[in-house]
Amino acid sequence: MMIPRSSISLKITVLVLCGASIVFAMALAYSYFYSRGIILEEAEKRACGLTQSVSNKIEQEFRAAAKVPKVLAAVLETSNPDKETLVRLVSRTVEESREIYGSAVAFEPHAFDKSMLRFAPYCFKGKSGITYQQLGSESYDYLIKDWYHIPKVLKAPVWTDPYFDEGGGNEMMTTHSRPFFERGASNAGPKVRGIVTADLSLDWLTTLARSIQVERTGYCFICSDTGHFVTHPNPEFVMSESMFSLAEELHDPMLRTVGLAMIQEESGFTEIGRAFSGEDAFLAYARIPSPGWSLGAVFPKNELLAELNDLHKSTALLAAGGLILLLVVSGLVARSIAQPLRRMAAATAKVAHGDLDIDFSDIKREDEVGQLARSFSRMAQDLKKYIKDLTETTAAKQRIESELSIAANIQKSMLPSVFPAFPDRDEFDIYAVMHPAKEVGGDFYDFFFLDGDHLCVVIGDVSGKGVPAALFMTVTKYLIEATAVVDEPLDLILTRVNRHLARNNESYMFVTIFMGVLNVKTGEFVYANGGHNSPLLWDEDNPPSFFGPPKGPVVGIMDDAEFTMDRLTFTPGTVLLAYTDGVTEAFSAEGNAFSDERLLEIVTAVREKSVKEITEDLLSEISSFCVGAPQADDITVLALKFGTRKPATN
C-alpha cells in the first residue's frame, strides 16, 4: 500500500526518529567529551610518567659524567701536579669512568707553564685504548671554543651544545666543562685557571630514545636548551633543525609555542597538531635538568585515543542499531494507528457515496483508535437506519403529496373556475380566484343561480389550513349549496348551516361566511355575514369602501348562533369585491401586513377595470408585495359587477 508523504505514520516515525537521534547525538557527544577527558587525563599521566622516567634515567648519566670534571677540578684547585702526573690522572679518570668518552684539562694562556701559550692534555677512549693528545695548537685554538670560553666567562660549569666529533669516533658528543680557579682569592673574585672537561658520547642517547616504544607509531626525541634536535627519528633534523626552525618552515606558530614551553618548563603535555609529525599528535615532554635539554614523546592522537574511538565506534553502532529498532517499532506503532485511520478515511469516502456497509469488527482495541472505530461503525449503522427511515418517510410523504395534489385538483374542481362563468348572461360579470397556502385550502367561493334571476354568491374562510380546513370547507360549501333556495332568507340559511356544522364539531373548527343573493334583474342585493371581512363596494358615483353590515358570529361553533340579513340595491356599474383575510393579512418579507388601506388603495386605482382585471391586478400586487415570504394563508378574491358585462380587455 502506498503511504502518502504526509501520512501520520511517516510523521510519527520521522518525529520519533529525529527526537531520538538528537537525544542519542547529545548523549554520544557528552559521553565522548566526558570519556575523552578521562582518557586524555589517563594518557597524560601515562605519557608524563614515561617522559619523566626516561628523562630521569638520562639525567643520571649526565650527573655521573659531570662528576669527573668536578673531582678533577677539586684536585687541580688543591694541588699542582706536573705534566706527567696530570696526564696520568686524566688518563686514569677516563679509563675508570663508564660514562665519559674523553676528558681534557685546558689551561689559560701561560697558566700551567709560563713558557706555553696553550696547554691542554686530552685523553679519550681510542680504538687502541686510552689515547693521549695535546689539544692546544696553531690550528686548534681551544681558547675560542665554546666549551672553553663560555664556562670561563660564566665562571660556572656548562654542558655545551651537542656537536659531531669529526676527529674522534665520529660520534655525537656533548661536553661538560667546569672551570677551576687559582688558589688564593684576588680582589676581583676567583680567577679562572683553566677548564676541565668530560666528553659524553651521545650515541647511547640516540639508542635509548629510539628504543622507547611510544604507543604503536609514536616516538621520542630530545632537543637541546635552544630547541635544536639532539635525537630525532629523522636524522636530517639532528643538530640542523630546531623546534623553532620547523615552526617557521611549516608556518606553524603553535609549534614555536610548544618549543618555548619545552625549553622553559619542567614538563608538560600538549596537542601539537599535524604539522610536526604528519598526523594529529600529542606531545609529552620532560626536562633533563643537567644540560637543560628536553625529552619529548610524540603520541599519535588516534593511537592515544584508540580506546576512546573504539568505545565510540561501538556506542555509535549501538545507537545506530537502537535507531533502526526504534524505526521499526515506531513504524509499527504508527502503522497500527494510521492503518485503521486510513481504513476509516476510505470508509468515509464510501459513506459519502452512500455505501454504508462498513465493518470494523476486526478492530478489537480498547484505545482511542478502537473507540473511534466503534463510534464510526455505530455511526454508519445509525446512518443506515436513518436513511432507511428517511426513505420510507419520503415514500409516505410522496404518497401523501400525490394524494394532496389529487385533493387539490378535486378542491379546485369543486369551485367554479371557468370564466366567464355564465357566457349567456350579460346582466352582471363575476370573477373569482382561490390560491391555497398549501396544496389544499380552507377558503372557498361559490356562485350559482337559485332561479333564473337570483345569483347566489358565497365566500368563506375556514379556520386553519390544509386538509382539515379543506374537508370542513367542502362540507360547508355543499351545506350552503344544499340549503340555499329562493325565497329562503339568508339569515335562516346561515343559521341552518351553522347548526349543521356546530353539531358534532369536535375539532372546534369554524368558518366565516359572506353570502349574498343578487337579483340580476333589479339589482337588489340581499346579504348576510357570518364573521367574514367586510367586502368592498363601489359604483360609478361612489369610490370603493368597506361596507359595514353587522359581521355576525362565525359559523360552526355555537349551534344557537343568530345571523342577520340586510339588503341594498346595486345600480349598474356597482362592484362588490369580497376577499378572505389571506389578502389583508398577507405578509411581506419584512413582516408588514398587506392591510385594508393598501387593499383599498389598489382597488381604487383599478376600479374602472373589469372584474377579472381587478382581481388579477390585486393578486399580482399581493404576490409582488409578498416576494420572499412564504404564503401564510389561503388567498381568495371574488369580484361581482352588476350591469352589462363588457368583454374582457385582454
Binding site: D146, H149, D161, H228
Partner: protein
C-alpha cells in the same frame, strides 16, 4: 610556402656547411676555450653566497666563458689569504677589510660592491634592561674580534658608553647562556639563530649600525690588481655572471635555497632551510636595498669615504686609497 628551388637548396647547403665549420666558435661552452678561475667566499656555504652558487649551478659562469671552481670558505680559509697565495682568483670580503688590505700592501681591487648595507647589528636583551643605546652602558657585550669591532667601538665612543667587552667567537651560546647582555651579530645570520633558539623578537633590542651613521657596505668581490691587469675580461665576466646569479636567486628563492642547502650539506654545515630562507631574504634587502637592480654592485663614493675615513681615524689604515684605484665596478 617557399618552393624548393635549386637556388634555395644551394643556399641551405652553404648555411649548413658554415655552421659545421664555425662550430667551436659558436659554442663558447666547449672546454677548450673556458678560462679557469677559483672563487673563495669569505665564510662557510650559506645563503650569504647564494648568488654565486646559483650562477654556478645555472651555468652562468660557463656561459661567460669561465670554468669556475667554488671553494668552501670558512674561518680556516681567510679570503684575502687565498687571494694572496694564488689559491683563489676571486674572493669576497668586507669593504673595510678590502681597504685595510690595500693599505697594508696587498694590492686588491674591488670589482663590485655587492652588499650595499651593513648587516652588522648589536642585539641586546630587554631582560637585561637594554631598550635604547644608553642602556648598554656598563653592560657585558660580546663582540667578535677584528673588523667586526670597528663599528661597535666607534658607536660606543660616539654615545660615550663604557661597556665591558667580552670576546665572542663562533656561536650565540654565550649570549643564550647569559654570559653577555648584548652581542654583535649579523642581521641575516645570528639574529635568526637567536630567534630560532627560543628567544622572541619582542625579547630583544636591535641596534642597526646602518641606521646609526655607520653604514659599512660589507660583501664585495675582490681580485688582485695583477689579475685585473692581465685579464680584465675575465674579471668583468665573473662579476656579470655573479650579479646574474644573484638576480636569478632573488627571483627563484626556492630553487636558490635548494642549491644553498646542497652546498651546506656537502660542507657538513648544520643548518636548516628556514634559516637559509631568512638569510636569502635579508641578502636581497642588503644587495638591492630599494629594490632597484640598476645600482647593483656599485660602490657609493660617500659610503667609501665614510668607511675609509673611520678606518683612518681609528688608525687602522695610514692613507685612504684612491677610490678610482680601489674600485672598478661591474662593466
Amino acid at each position: 610556402m617557399q618552393n624548393f628551388t635549386p637556388k634555395y637548396i644551394c643556399k641551405f647547403a652553404i648555411t649548413i656547411l658554415a655552421l659545421l665549420l664555425f662550430q667551436p666558435v659558436m659554442c663558447p661552452g666547449s672546454e677548450s676555450v673556458l678560462k679557469k678561475a677559483t672563487f673563495c667566499p669569505q665564510w662557510i656555504p650559506q645563503a650569504q653566497f647564494a648568488g654565486y652558487m646559483v650562477a654556478l649551478e645555472k651555468g652562468f659562469y660557463r656561459d661567460a666563458g669561465l670554468d669556475l671552481n667554488l671553494m668552501v670558505g670558512g674561518p680556516e680559509k681567510p679570503a684575502f689569504v687565498t687571494l694572496e697565495s694564488g689559491e683563489a682568483t676571486f674572493c669576497t670580503d668586507w669593504l673595510s677589510s678590502g681597504i685595510q688590505q690595500r693599505d697594508s700592501g696587498l694590492p686588491v681591487v674591488n670589482l663590485a660592491q655587492i652588499s650595499q648595507r651593513s648587516a652588522l647589528i648589536l642585539i641586546g636583551k630587554k631582560k637585561s634592561g637594554i631598550l635604547k643605546a644608553q642602556d648598554l652602558n656598563g653592560k657585558k657585550i660580546g663582540l667578535w674580534p677584528g673588523q667586526f669591532r670597528i663599528q661597535p667601538k666607534v658607536f660606543f665612543e660616539k654615545y660615550g658608553l663604557q661597556v665591558d667587552i667580552i670576546p665572542n667567537y663562533t656561536s650565540v651560546s654565550l649570549f643564550l647562556k647569559g654570559g653577555v647582555d648584548a652581542m654583535s651579530a649579523m642581521w641575516y645570520n645570528e639574529y635568526h639563530d637567536i630567534l630560532n633558539s627560543g628567544l622572541n623578537s619582542d625579547d630583544l633590542t636591535l641596534f642597526f649600525f646602518s641606521r646609526l651613521g655607520l653604514n659599512f657596505p660589507e660583501d664585495g668581490i675582490y681580485c688582485l690588481e695583477k689579475t685585473l691587469r692581465e685579464d680584465p675580461q675575465l674579471c668583468d665576466a665573473f662579476v656579470q655572471a655573479s650579479i646574474k646569479g644573484w638576480l636569478y636567486a632573488f627571483e627563484n628563492q626556492d630553487y636558490a635555497l635548494d642549491i644553498v642547502m646542497k652546498h651546506a650539506k656537502a660542507a657538513h654545515s648544520a643548518t636548516n632551510k628556514a634559516h637559509q630562507r631568512w638569510m636569502l631574504a635579508r641578502m636581497k634587502v642588503l644587495i638591492i636595498p630599494e629594490g632597484d637592480t640598476s645600482g647593483i654592485g656599485k660602490l657609493d663614493m660617500a659610503d667609501y669615504a665614510l668607511v675609509s675615513d673611520i678606518l683612518r681615524d681609528s688608525r687602522l689604515i695610514e692613507r685612504v686609497p684612491q677610490y678610482e684605484e680601489f674600485y672598478r665596478g661591474p662593466k
